[in-house]
Symmetry: C2
Subunit: 553 residues, 2 copies
């Protein structure tokens, strides 16, 4: 699996999904092309999916919000006769490297979360209309929807057969959503999750696995009625038309470096690091959201979010050995603040809301990226508002103090804005500053008192906003030593440490999925009972069960 | 590592700990015997520990509460010259099987939690008086104390060197306590946890890693003063003397079965299960807590808790292939209720409090036991109050309905008491019924309305208190099929599933340690970078660093 995985797609390229727009309702059909696998060696039978299918789905959800803001309800359906979705493709999983499996699961989890975010942040509600077998990742797709309708017949069921059949966990939030979202009683969840054939009809309703079970003869009309009903009662504001999301400007250099219009990713393979430099705005901010909307996908704030998102995903899946991500910025802090301010001044404008909520998702994507991350606040940088959030997302941050010899860029500053105080909650529902100052909320208040000020190093240090400030004498050596050291540690230990330190205190369904469920799944993905030659994933489809070492740990 | 690990010990057998009692203050000295390892092949240098050292420590903490209720402050010290504690012994870890490592970490975590529980539940406060190097599990011992005093000199430091040195995580709650309990800012925690040599003196205070740094010359007197001060301001009730905890009555049969005075553990190796049968009280309940105290460790409620606790620990560490634990009870429900009621009627009595809080710990131990667990509510059983909690702790429960042919035992009932409504919170701070009915709190209220009633199967089923009720026709087959099926699944997948389903919704520091941190550690404990031939654990002490696969996952 060494080809470059591209996260950019658009409807003209979809092989697995089809959408029918019908006013406020969109019908989204899953129709996986068996021969359209991202890699060779497996067929995507029975609407099973691989990363390629999910990349298209993520694109669907994203465009639904920006290009189709008129949609209030999305009905997820299968275009296959007898199956809704069989879940992640097992042969793909059986053949994939551990790192691919883990990152595949992370991306699918992020995509499922966007279903829920669409309703919470934008009023776009996802309904699953399940006809036929809905198993494993297929049921997890349905679980990510906020209303599940099941055909009540002899062949339609929901199931999480991973544990009995494959010796792995449902890896896309299934175990957590069953108890935490659907509120299935935990012993019934235990029965459900260890029953290969799943649960049908009325029992699925009684156990709360689905919201409705409807006779086949009335299914389609009931689904349509329900979609209309939800659309009619939706609080989503009416928007006549969206903006289109054109292709990103991106060049991949022979050495693996990436150049976007605003983001540059320099790859240093020997040092095992990628340096992401974010460019500030070239032009003045638009006057208001009307002007912003006219700029559409070329507006600075949206373009930057899309490029950064793509860069992170590219690095995650295509550059596994670059263990350290270094975030820099260069630009005019005042212009940066002005661009952000246009969105903040009119947050109820549909597009302002969408752009801000997209930034929320991009920042969360950074939070759960399994690489060591550091931010360098250098002279000439523009860590303002949403970009300052990056300082509070990464593992450490270093800032230049005082003038550096021969460096005539403007002195390094950090500027907090209202964006840093609750606009971009992390997965644990804390702002990044609340997370940073867990246990000392007064430190958040103090920082808030300095909103809008271009804070220089000494003040930033006093406020606790960076890990360390360094002057001209120490900067080069300290940064070099840190980077060399970090690149020398065991990547697994770093992953585990960072996964624990980045999220403090409270947990939510989302952090439980990424922190508790994912960690157990990673462990299982390393155990011979699942992935060994006689493990269940390898033996799947042979008619022979996995041969298990029965020792409990 | 095939010898039987015995969790029973007493001060006459201690090899690693020494206690000096001084009125309300106890000085607990860690003085690990290098040659006293539980297994061959390693020496416990520098106050490093293995499971044997921790078994003694757990015994110390337990006896402090029952035998020394006069103690209000426990000062944890080292009896070695230059080292406080070097943490878990690395050679032991390097040589141990995965299952031993994981269960060793679980037990040490439970023991650390008892430090905190001693203050929260009983007013016994633990202070760490750190002189010399305090690294890894050594610092985690200190972190479990509620006040950390560090000698401010050139050789005393606190450190978590696991990530840089050993390519594993601090496995006894370190990462979680640093951020969640000590409230160390997460980027400083990142620096701390990747710095082998740790942090000394005033910086350790500034970063909140310790509470005080005191010059060597004043250290001992300051520690003594602080201990006296905490004792003087303690809210702990004065108790003149405790009760003694004598040895358990326990016979281990040749086939591995265990017979205690009240608990019988039948081992069936072919079926890979252990059946734990809890016997009800043989005699009437004592009249009051005065009579109870006179019975001391022979009182039914305390004896049962101790035997059950020992049985669980024995099975965890010594019987890894028994993947299914079946809980039964046989006894008089009315007598059972009466014995429990003596404690509940006088909960402020020091011993009533200690016994109830001990049950809280035993039930939590069951919650995090990594085996499939089922309860069978048979005719003649006595699942009342605290024993009914077991039904809500295990993964599933089955109950006999109506009379069974040829069975003249009293009809099966379940009786809820006040003990089921908040007295025994789980690690997530929910009662087991709140956890069971997460999202439908009204179901808890309904159940509460039936407190004190001996509920038969149909009522129990209506209230949702068991997974399934079965009559004479179905019982044998259904139970047999369930057990056979469960014993055939991959143990790893079961462990992961159960770890997720048993704890719903909210998380606490405790569940974050067992759920998030432990899962990441288990994963790392399976990765070649840690445990492979060239991994850091194997290479420790050779002067050669681990050779890492640098791929990030």
């Amino acid at each position: 699996m060494s080809k470059v995985i591209d996260f950019q797609t658009d409807p003209s390229k979809y092989r697995h999904w089809r959408i029918e727009y019908d006013g406020p309702v969109a019908n989204l059909f899953m129709d996986v092309d068996e021969d359209g696998g991202l890699f060779d060696g497996y067929q995507l039978k029975l609407n099973s999916y691989d990363l390629g299918v999910d990349i298209e789905l993520a694109d669907v959800v994203q465009r639904m919000r920006f290009e189709h803001p008129e949609v209030k309800v999305v009905v997820l359906r299968s275009a296959k006769e007898k199956v809704f979705c069989a879940g992640a493709n097992i042969r793909m999983l059986g053949g994939a490297a551990h790192s691919h499996k883990v990152n595949f699961c992370k991306f699918t989890n992020e995509t499922r979360n966007t279903f829920e975010a669409a309703e919470a942040d934008s009023g776009q509600k996802y309904i699953a209309a399940v006809k036929g077998a809905c198993a494993g990742g297929g049921y997890e797709l349905a679980l990510a929807c906020n209303h599940i309708m099941l055909t009540d017949d002899s062949s339609s069921s929901v199931a999480l057969p991973e544990v009995p059949l494959l010796a792995v966990l449902p890896g896309t939030g299934g175990l957590t959503r069953v108890t935490d979202k659907r509120k299935v009683r935990r012993d019934l969840a235990d029965v459900f999750c260890s029953t290969e054939e799943g649960v049908k009809g009325k029992r699925a309703v009684t156990w709360k696995l689905v919201d409705e079970a409807i006779a086949n003869s009335k299914f389609d009309e009931t689904v349509e009625a329900r979609a209309r009903e939800f659309a009619a009662s939706s609080a989503k504001v009416d928007v006549a038309s969206g903006i289109s999301l054109g292709p990103l400007r991106r060049v991949i250099e022979p050495d693996g470096s990436l150049r976007y219009s605003l983001v540059e990713v320099l790859v240093d393979r020997d040092a095992r690091r990628a340096t992401l430099t974010i460019g500030g705005p070239e032009t003045d901010a638009p006057d208001d959201m009307v002007a912003f909307e006219a700029q559409g996908d070329q507006s600075y704030m949206l373009r930057l979010a899309r490029e950064l998102d793509d860069a992170i995903l590219h690095l995650r899946l295509n550059e596994a050995e670059l263990g350290l991500l270094v975030f820099r910025s260069q630009g005019d802090p005042i212009k940066m603040a002005a661009h952000e301010a246009v969105l903040m001044a009119d947050p109820d404008h549909w597009l302002a809301n969408e752009v801000l909520k997209y930034w929320k998702r991009v920042l969360k994507r950074i939070d759960v990226t399994s690489r060591s991350m550091v931010a360098l606040v250098e002279h000439g940088s523009c860590f303002v508002g949403v970009l300052a959030e990056i300082l509070f997302s990464v593992d450490r941050s270093y800032m230049m103090e005082d003038e550096f010899e021969g460096d005539n860029r403007p002195i390094a500053t950090v500027t907090l804005t209202a964006a840093n105080f609750g606009l971009f909650p992390m997965g644990n529902d804390l702002s990044r500053l609340q997370n940073r100052f867990y246990g000392t909320p007064e430190a958040v208040d103090t920082a808030q008192g300095h909103m809008g000020e271009a804070l220089e190093a000494a003040e930033v240090n006093d406020l606790g906003l960076v890990t360390m400030i360094l002057d001209d004498i120490d900067w080069d050596d300290e940064i070099r030593i840190f980077m060399e050291e970090r690149a020398s540690f065991s990547p697994d230990a770093m992953t585990g440490m960072e996964a624990n330190l980045r999220f403090v205190g409270p947990e939510t369904m989302e952090t439980r999925i990424f922190g508790r469920l994912t960690a157990w799944q990673n462990w299982i993905f390393n155990r011979p009972n699942a992935v060994g030659a006689e493990g269940a994933l390898q033996r799947y489809g042979t008619g022979v069960r996995g041969n298990y070492d029965m020792e409990r740990v």
